[in-house]
């Protein structure tokens, strides 16, 4: 690949990787599976640079997300392995290093986030994907709507549904 093409690839990766990973996280419910799929998505982008390099930025994003969607469909065919990875991750979630100060506060925050993580995994896939794109991907409702082909108002409603269900599941204020 020429230097220009590699530069274009790096820019595409820089701009889209966070949102694509968030999308894959929402679809799979599994951070590590999402990372593996992310690599596969961008491997295809790297190998098929001619398919997207001349497109405008919004179409480039659409191209990347189309690849991601197709990969998820393939992955769902091997759901059993994803479920196994998810179960392992769930076991590890409580032990993940939290960011609060002090061992007790860290342990409490870790437990609360693990509880939230379990609740998010229990959301319907649609709500989980919307929530993940918004929270982990940092996309606005309008941007989430563009990715998923939904009106921004529908996305906002789904986000509020997700928050209500999570609040009920972990005993927090919505």
């Amino acid at each position: 690949m020429s230097g220009d093409a590699e530069h274009d690839f790096n820019r595409l990766y820089e701009e889209q990787q966070r949102a694509v990973h968030a999308y894959l996280l929402g679809r799979t419910g599994d951070r590590e599976a999402a990372r593996d799929l992310l690599q596969e998505v961008f491997l295809r982008a790297w190998r098929h640079a001619g398919s997207w390099r001349d497109l405008p930025a919004d179409r480039q994003r659409a191209w990347v997300f189309a690849v991601a969607r197709n990969l998820v469909i393939d992955t769902h065919r091997t759901r059993a392995s994803v479920e196994a990875a998810r179960a392992a991750l769930e076991r590890d979630a409580v032990a993940a290093a939290p960011a609060a100060e002090g061992p007790e506060a860290r342990a409490e925050l870790g437990e609360r986030v693990a509880q939230l993580d379990r609740a998010i995994r229990g959301l319907p896939e649609k709500l989980r994907t919307v929530l993940s794109l918004h929270v982990a991907g940092g996309l606005t409702s309008a941007q989430v709507g563009e990715v998923l082909g939904e009106p921004a108002g529908t996305v906002r409603y789904q986000l509020s549904q997700a928050r209500r269900q999570l609040a009920a599941a972990i005993g927090a204020e919505p």
């Binding site: 790096n10 990787q17 966070r18 990372r35 098929h48 925050l109 928050r163 204020e173």
Partner: protein, 73 residues
Amino acid sequence: MSLDDLLDEWGTRSRLTAREAEAVRAAVVATRQPGLDAGWWNDLMGQVSASVIRATVLPDRARLALQPGWSGA
């Protein structure tokens, strides 16, 4: 802790770290460059094989002539 705070924390933990993201990018660009189609290896091996065959069918005198120091005697 509010739901917003917990969601922020969950989002932070769920995202790839800068190191993880860079590892993914580096793994991708380390793969074979696009533009080299699947036949390039076969083409290369075909050329190598042809060279080997040409070398092995040279007459002895011709091969000798390729040796350094050959005087033509």
